[in-house]
Each structure stands twice: as structure tokens, then as C-alpha cells.
């Protein structure tokens, strides 16, 4: 089932759904109907409540929502994106860009570099399959590969060290 994370103000909502005739909101299942009125205006029925919602994309990647006289801005991401963002966020914080860790459990599909090779910021280091998606893991810094701890086919856990740069 597809999983999404919506952050609105200080609240966080985890949404699970495939067809959006039924959704799980933070684990609780609710019947749902969504009707498109115009490009920017939708009718959402959740349980017995009906909401008319206007929404537009903002330039900062967020969406604006207007409903019932209220105005909200929200960041909505798939769970995968959310985890990656959290991960890169924490990486940036401790500046450990030279130790490449797995952002989530997955399977190494391909290793693009060899030990001793130079890498530049943004170059692909390896491809990891996670949540049914193939993800390119890129270097956040210039450097030389010191050690590669995994190979094609390795299953990795979250936060497991994959590659060390120097």
C-alpha cells in the first residue's frame, strides 16, 4: 500500500491508500471519496464529512490549501521521500558526508564505484532497491573511495555503513 506523510503545522499525518476509496489516517481506516471539480478545486468526503478544498502548488514545493475559511500550507511526501529527507537532514547536521549509510532497509542492486576511485559531489555511488523503488545513492561531497562495505546483492539494514570516503 502506498504511504504518505503530511506535515501541517505541528501535526503529522501518515496516510495509507491505494485507490483512495478507503484511507488509513494514522492507522485508522476511513471511507473516502475524492471528486475533482476543477484543476484547483476538489471535494473530499471523509467518513460523513464533506470538504471543498482549493489547492495550489507553491514555489517552495509545498502546497497551499484553502478550506472552510482556513488557510494551510503543507509538505506532503511519500514515506520513502520522507525517510530520505530525514536521513539527509541528519547527515547534514553531523557533517558525516564521508560515511555513506543506508537510509532504510534494502537490497544493493549495483555498485558504481571501486575503492580508490575519485568521486565528485552528485555522482552516483550505488543503487539501492527499497520500497519497490530503485534509488540512486549520490555522493554529497568530493572525495576518494576508501572502502566499500557491500556488493551487489547485499541486503542492508537502516543506518548500515555502505561506503566510506576520504
Amino acid at each position: 500500500m502506498n504511504e504518505y506523510v503530511a506535515k501541517i503545522g505541528n501535526n503529522k499525518y501518515i496516510i495509507n491508500s491505494d485507490e483512495f476509496n478507503e484511507v488509513k489516517i494514522n492507522g485508522k481506516t476511513v471511507k473516502c471519496e475524492i471528486q475533482k471539480i476543477t484543476d484547483k478545486n476538489y471535494k473530499v468526503k471523509l467518513g460523513n464529512n464533506i470538504y471543498q478544498i482549493t489547492t495550489t502548488k507553491l514555489t517552495n514545493g509545498k502546497r497551499a490549501f484553502i478550506t472552510g475559511g482556513h488557510y494551510f500550507e503543507s509538505n506532503i511526501r511519500s514515506l520513502l521521500e520522507e525517510k530520505v529527507n530525514e536521513h539527509t537532514g541528519s547527515l547534514n547536521k553531523d557533517e558525516s558526508n564521508k560515511i555513506i549509510k543506508s537510509p532504510m532497509p534494502g537490497l544493493v542492486l549495483k555498485v558504481n564505484k571501486k575503492a580508490g576511485e575519485k568521486v565528485k559531489t552528485g555522482e552516483s555511488l550505488l543503487v539501492l532497491e527499497a520500497m519497490k523503488m530503485e534509488n540512486n545513492l549520490k555522493s554529497l561531497t568530493d572525495g576518494i573511495i576508501k572502502e566499500i562495505k557491500v556488493k551487489t546483492g547485499t541486503s542492508v539494514e537502516k543506518n548500515e555503513t555502505l561506503i566510506i570516503l576520504e
Partner: protein
């Protein structure tokens, strides 16, 4: 006979005047600036003329061009709306000289009422209560001290030629007086070219109550009762209502009579508003606005009188045909000024394009709007988008109706102050009518940014989260999941199953 009116304004008020013209079978012509070429008033008018570049000084304030155009297109009259040239005596003189009817008072009346001390003197002479203080500019600090001793502290030092808060100083202690006078004089000289200032008592907790009047060219006057506009931020009205729920019929009788006397005193003709400060069951003349006001629709709702049509009739020389005894207060009306602004960012204008709008409607709802989808909200003009007005049999129901109408009003593309009105409409002091002009400053401003937003309704948030997830899901069906294109982002999706 007026057959064609040139409307020297823009936005919702230009559209409002066009509607009166249509009902009276008068041709409406408007001016527009370069940035307003797609504006609603241009679409709605019978004729529209590009007047100049976007800055107001080159367009809506450029009265030489405007008068030249009026002559060229053979307009019989010019309606100035509010703001821009509406209270510019020099403009009115030029219009009169050109043989065009100005839909408003004489230039001399505007001049008289524009000078604060001459207006105060005239009001005092005609038994209209003024705020205690001087009716002549002060000549010396000693003279000012003697007056302050008589009327008591705190006092305000105000510019005779003033307005908009310039050349104004509050004095709490006697030893502050000399410096305050000097600074007010300097400010006034810079802003208005005159250093004349006067002293008046500072009213600490006033309410703003104003009376709408109509006067024709034959000395007939009527009033259309009062409005209360105490919900203000920095002397800018935010929400207005009619009638005032703060005064009883006895006060109402006195204040409306005072307003009529004020209008008579300056031989006023046109629609006009006499503004008063009200505190402890006493009211004091503040100023007279010699034009149509932004908040005129609340009065139209409770009296059923079309003020713009009356203005046009008066200007064309007709006698007032409404009798005072036939005007009754019917129900209650509230107006919210809808602005493109970011309330939490110190009410900064929100500039941009209206991407989508859905207007409220239904029983007792009136929307005077100046925008449509794709309208540009530019830096050049006041960012008021529209006025939402509701009417009901009583104040409580008018409030309920306003909340309903606000909830139907969707504007996307710019930030608006729509949600801010819920804070006002649900505040205890607003509901029990005990608020005064300091209401927003004292109660709301300390709650910015953000803290005023009551625990937002979780149900709305859930609905938004679901819709957001749905839209992302739809996008991902077409395009694989995209991660943020930040170079610091290690992840890039290759394939989605």
C-alpha cells in the same frame, strides 16, 4: 442630465460605481494603468482608457491627463471613488473649471474640512461636540501649557493640515510638552508644508462611530444612521458594521443630529461621513470625509438606499426624494475588508496572481469585488481584493452568516486575511461589543505570528492530508517519485513499480 461618467478609480469601487451607472442607464468609462489592463473594472465598464504607467502618480493621480480624457470622451461627470483624487481640492477646482460635474462636494468645502483647526472651529460654532482642546494653532509653549492644565493629561499634539498619523505626538507628562510640540511642528512642516499644530485631549479608549449623511444642492439633509468601525489596525479599518451595537437610541438621536448639523455647517452636498470618537456615552467630532466611503455597503444593507445612485442624482442637480421619517434601521450588516496580505508577516502585502477564486453567495451576502481569476495583485496599489458584506435580522445572525460566507470564499495564488476574521468574529470582546479602537493592537498583535490560530480543526487537516496524498499519488502515476532537487540529496529515483 448625466449621460456618461468617467470613473477616476480602480478595483472594487470602480466596479461598484459601474453597477450604479448600469442601473441608471448611464455610460460608464474607466481609466486604467498598464498593470491593470486585465483588471475587472476594465472588463465591466462600457469604455476603458489606458491613462498611464503603473505608478499611481502617472495614472490614477495624474489629474491633468484624467481631465483631458474626460473632455475628449465627452464625459458629463467624474466620479472619484475613494482615495486617489477624491479629496483633492486642487483636482476638484480643475474639474469645475473644465465644466465637468464633480460627483462630490465643492472644492471649498473639501478645503475647509481638510484643515483640522478650521473644521474644529466650525463644528464648535455649530454645536457639534469636538475633542476638548484648541481651535486655533498654538502660538507658544506657554499657551499650550495653560490649555493642558485646563483639559488634563494625556494630550495629543496634532498637525492642523494633518492626517494619516503624521505630525501627531502623544504627551503623557507636562515636561514632555515643549519637545513634543517642536517635533510635531517639524514633522508637519515636512509632510504638509505647514508647521501649525493644535492641542487636544487624548481619548484613551474610544470607539469609532460615524454617521452617513446625504445632502443635496438645495439645503436638504438626511442621515442614514451610524456605522461602527472600531476594529482597526494603525488607524486602518478592518471590519465595519451597522448599526453600532454600542449606542442606544438616545445617543443615536444626538449623534445623527450632530452629523446633520456638521454637514449643514459646511453647506455640504453629496454623500458624506462625519466621524466621531465615542467614550463613556460622550461623542466628539473627529473629521468629515467628503466622499463615498469604503464601508458604505453596510449602510446600504440596513437602509435599502443605494448611496452611489444618490450621489449621482445629487450631482446632477436633483432634489433628495427620500424623507428622514421613511428611513428605518432594518437588521444588522457587517463588512470584512478582504486583503491580499500576510497577517503573520506584519500584514505585508501578498503580491502575485489570483490563480483561482470561488465567491461566496446566498441569502444576505454581498461581495463587492475588484478581482477575477488571473488578476494581478501588484505593488503599486492598496492590496484590498474585495469587501464581503453580510446582512441578517440581528447582529448574532449576521456574524454567523459572515462566518459561513468566509468559509465559502476561496482565493488561491495570494495569501489573504480571510482566516484572520474568524479570530475577530469569535472573540468575546467583539461578541459582547465591549471592544474599542485598541482591540486589535492590544489583543491580536501580541498573538502574532501564528499564536492566534486556534487549535486548527484536526478534521480539516486530515482532509487536506488525504487530498495531498491523493494528488501526489496521481502525479506519481504519471511521473516516478521525484526527490527534492537539492544537490545535497543523495537519492534519486530511477524506477517506480
Amino acid at each position: 442630465m448625466i449621460k456618461k461618467i468617467l470613473i477616476a478609480n480602480r478595483g472594487e469601487i470602480a466596479v461598484r460605481i459601474i453597477k450604479a451607472c448600469k442601473e441608471m442607464n448611464i455610460t460608464s468609462a474607466v481609466i486604467y494603468s498598464e498593470s491593470d489592463k486585465n483588471a475587472l473594472h476594465v472588463v465591466e465598464a462600457d469604455e476603458a482608457y489606458l491613462i498611464g504607467k503603473s505608478p499611481a502618480s502617472d495614472s490614477y493621480l495624474n489629474y491633468k491627463k484624467i481631465i483631458k480624457l474626460a473632455k475628449k470622451i465627452k464625459a458629463d461627470a467624474i466620479h472619484p471613488g475613494y482615495g486617489f483624487l477624491s479629496e483633492n481640492a486642487a483636482f476638484i477646482k480643475e474639474v469645475e473649471k473644465a465644466g465637468i460635474i464633480f460627483i462630490g462636494p465643492n472644492a471649498s468645502t473639501v478645503e475647509l474640512m481638510g484643515d483640522k483647526t478650521s473644521a474644529r472651529k466650525l463644528m464648535k460654532k455649530n454645536k457639534v461636540p469636538i475633542v476638548p482642546g484648541t481651535t486655533e494653532p498654538i502660538k507658544s509653549v506657554e499657551e499650550a501649557k495653560a490649555i493642558v492644565k485646563k483639559i488634563g493629561l494625556p494630550v495629543m499634539i496634532k498637525a492642523s493640515a494633518g492626517g494619516g498619523g503624521k505630525g501627531m505626538r502623544k504627551v503623557d507628562k507636562m515636561n514632555e510638552l515643549p519637545e513634543a510640540i517642536e517635533r510635531a511642528q517639524n514633522e508637519s512642516l515636512k509632510a504638509f508644508g505647514s508647521s501649525e499644530v493644535y492641542v487636544e485631549k487624548f481619548i484613551e479608549h474610544p470607539k469609532h462611530i460615524e454617521v452617513q449623511i446625504l445632502g443635496d444642492k438645495y439645503g436638504n439633509y438626511i442621515h442614514l444612521f451610524e456605522r461602527e468601525c472600531s476594529v482597526q489596525r494603525r488607524h486602518q479599518k478592518v471590519l465595519e458594521e451597522a448599526p453600532s451595537s454600542s449606542i442606544n437610541n438616545q445617543i443615536r438621536k444626538k449623534i445623527t443630529l450632530a452629523a446633520i448639523n456638521a454637514a449643514k455647517a459646511c453647506k455640504y452636498h453629496n454623500a458624506g461621513t462625519i466621524e466621531f470618537l465615542y467614550e463613556n456615552k460622550r461623542f466628539y467630532f473627529l473629521e468629515m470625509n467628503t466622499r463615498l466611503q469604503v464601508e458604505h455597503p453596510v449602510t446600504e444593507f440596513i437602509t435599502g438606499i443605494d448611496i452611489v445612485k444618490e450621489q449621482i442624482n445629487i450631482a446632477s442637480g436633483k432634489k433628495l426624494n427620500i424623507k428622514q421619517k421613511d428611513i428605518k434601521i432594518n437588521g444588522h450588516a457587517i463588512e470584512c475588508r478582504i486583503y491580499a496580505e500576510d497577517v503573520d508577516n506584519n500584514f505585508a502585502p501578498s503580491i502575485g496572481k489570483v490563480e483561482y477564486q470561488k465567491a461566496p453567495n446566498g441569502p444576505g451576502v454581498r461581495l463587492d469585488t475588484g478581482i477575477q481569476t488571473n488578476s494581478e495583485i501588484s505593488i503599486y496599489y492598496d492590496p484590498m481584493l474585495a469587501k464581503l458584506i453580510t446582512w441578517a435580522n440581528n447582529r448574532k445572525d449576521a456574524v454567523t452568516r459572515m462566518k459561513r460566507a468566509l468559509s465559502e470564499y476561496h482565493i488561491a495564488g495570494v495569501k489573504t486575511n480571510i482566516n484572520f476574521f474568524y479570530w475577530i468574529l469569535e472573540h468575546k470582546l467583539f461578541l459582547d461589543s465591549s471592544f474599542d479602537n485598541n482591540f486589535l493592537e492590544k489583543k491580536f498583535i501580541p498573538l502574532t505570528p501564528g499564536k492566534w490560530q486556534k487549535n486548527t480543526n484536526v478534521n480539516y487537516e486530515k482532509a487536506i492530508a488525504v487530498l495531498g496524498a491523493f494528488l501526489l499519488n496521481e502525479e506519481n502515476k504519471i511521473h516516478p517519485v521525484k526527490l527534492e532537487s537539492n544537490h545535497l540529496n543523495q537519492w534519486e529515483s530511477l524506477k517506480y513499480e
